[in-house]
């Protein structure tokens, strides 16, 4: 069981991911944008932060860099399906240099759970 912070601006997507994680036994806190996510992350500790990349206001790339620049921060997963005219690969290019794992949307529930397990089992 892990403490997970999930940041995604699309509510139905966030809901589905959170439900999948909770059913797998994890505890999930949800945030709807990058800034809110960073605020929550600074007030308590998480084992893992999963953040969408292309979001209005504070972008997921900023979240990844902010979290990874602090010593002993949480593990971070960057996820993206890209945006209009921007392939997912491109959106994930910069965050992938810092993030512990990337998830290319759309992904299955199994891939999500496996990724979380791989990062938190050690």
């Amino acid at each position: 069981m892990c403490q997970i912070l999930l940041i995604d601006d699309m509510q139905p997507v966030r809901h589905a991911i959170a439900a999948t994680l909770r059913k797998a036994g994890h505890e999930v806190v949800e945030a709807e944008d990058g800034q809110k996510g960073l605020d929550i992350a600074s007030s308590r500790t998480f084992d893992l932060v999963i953040t969408d990349i292309m979001m209005p206001a504070t972008d997921g790339t900023d979240v990844v860099f902010a979290l990874k620049s602090a010593p002993a921060g949480p593990k971070v997963v960057a996820m993206s399906g890209g945006g209009a005219g921007i392939p997912a690969k491109e959106a994930l290019h910069l965050p992938s240099s810092q993030a512990d794992a990337v998830l290319k949307k759309p992904f299955t529930n199994e891939v999500l759970i496996d990724t979380v397990r791989d990062l938190t089992s050690s």
């Binding site: 699309m10 139905p12 997507v13 809901h15 589905a16 991911i17 439900a19 999948t20 059913k23 399906g81 890209g82 945006g83 209009a84 005219g85 921007i86 392939p87 491109e90 949307k105 759309p106 299955t108 529930n109």
Partner: protein, 377 residues
């Protein structure tokens, strides 16, 4: 020194005095065509055409003089255009019109014709002037750009749509998958499984759309990777054609890293054109087979075969000529294949026409277009 300011007649009079033949030389040397008809004779026979006219139309002056210029018209010339010219002549008005004409060798060309009645100084109608310009190549270029812009717009729009769809489809598929195992009633489980399957299919379709826009149609990269780009284009064509036509492909024995020196939009334009033609040839009921093979180290071939009526040997080079297919089908621009050939020739490729798949009645063969292209991997 006569006062020649603002008086063209005076200036010309002066000019002729100094060099009696200059006006003739100007007409003869003009890079634009000049054709003149006599208004005092019935049916406006041509009384002068300059060398540029001969160059544009193929008709020497002795073949043109004494005849009405309608000999340039032919089978596919739009009769309404001709009626408009006739009306302008009746009304003694100038006219600018684009009309399909034919050169002496039978090759169609698009003529941007300007005609004007010429009045003498006293205001009396004294001749008809016609200036012809062959704008076929310009049209080909415009057609190419138009299709390219259309494809780019399509790529952008379908990409934006696909993103929205993906975001909506993810929760459907994910939440159904998540809770499906907890449903005890097998009949309800089966129903939900069907719903999940549909969402999955929709996501596949959406990802195909996304493939089209994944930068490929917008970027100006001068290389296109195969078979990926071919697969993307085929899925686009499939959306454009009726489901009754069957497109078969086989890229199993192809190396995954082939590349051709062309921008993907142009490549897609060529393929869409040929595949759409093939589908039309079979009245959208036939089979189209698309194959890709590496022929030597530096070449590869993409072949598109159909089981339609085929193309007569004697017509095989003609279909690449501008406006030829216009005479075969009313709703063809007549420019699709000429543009495709130009694009392929520009990158050092050729298009070979041969017999395609056996026809449904087993008697003859359809048509096969083979693109023979440089492989730059």
């Amino acid at each position: 020194m006569p006062d020649s300011s603002n008086d063209g007649y005076a200036a010309l009079g002066h000019l002729i005095k100094g060099a009696p033949d200059l006006l003739k030389s100007i007409l003869e040397g003009s890079p634009d065509t000049i054709s003149v008809s006599d208004v005092s004779q019935p049916d406006l026979p041509l009384t002068y055409v300059n060398p540029a006219f001969t160059k544009t139309t193929g008709y020497a002056s002795d073949e043109a003089l004494g005849r009405n210029c309608r000999f340039l018209q032919g089978e596919s010339t739009n009769r309404d255009d001709v009626a408009r010219i006739r009306k302008a002549i009746e009304d003694q008005k100038p006219i600018d019109i684009i009309v399909l004409n034919y050169k002496k060798d039978g090759e169609p060309f698009l003529n941007a014709l300007r005609m004007a009645p010429i009045f003498d100084k006293s205001g009396r109608l004294s001749a008809y002037l016609g200036i012809q310009r062959d704008i076929t190549q310009e049209r080909l270029r415009e057609e190419k750009e138009k299709t390219q812009n259309r494809l780019e717009t399509l790529g952008t729009a379908s990409g934006a749509l696909a993103h929205q769809l993906n975001n909506l489809l993810h929760p459907i598929e994910s939440l159904i998958s998540l809770h499906l195992p907890d449903i005890p009633d097998p009949a309800i489980r089966a129903d939900l499984d069907m719903a999940r399957y549909s969402a999955h299919q929709a996501a596949d379709l959406s990802n195909n759309l996304l493939g089209l826009s994944r930068g490929e149609f917008q970027n100006s990269s001068e290389s296109t990777h195969l078979p990926d780009a071919l697969i993307r284009t085929i899925s686009l064509v499939q959306l454009m054609l009726p489901a009754t036509v069957s497109i078969q492909t086989d890229f199993r024995n192809v190396p995954a890293d082939l590349a051709i020196p062309i921008n993907e939009t142009l490549f897609a334009q060529v393929l869409i054109n040929i595949i759409t033609n093939a589908s039309q040839a079979t009245k959208h009921l036939g089979i189209i087979r698309i194959e890709l093979k590496k022929t030597e180290n530096t070449r590869l071939q993409i072949s598109i075969s159909d089981n339609g009526p085929g193309i007569e040997k004697s017509d095989r080079d003609k279909i690449f000529k501008p406006f030829y297919s216009k005479s075969l089908s009313k709703n063809s621009s007549g420019l699709g294949l000429p543009v495709a050939l130009q694009i392929i020739n520009n990158i050092g490729g050729i298009i070979i026409l041969s017999e395609g798949l056996i026809q449904p009645d087993g008697h003859g063969y359809g048509c096969m277009f083979t693109l023979d292209l440089p492989n730059i991997t």
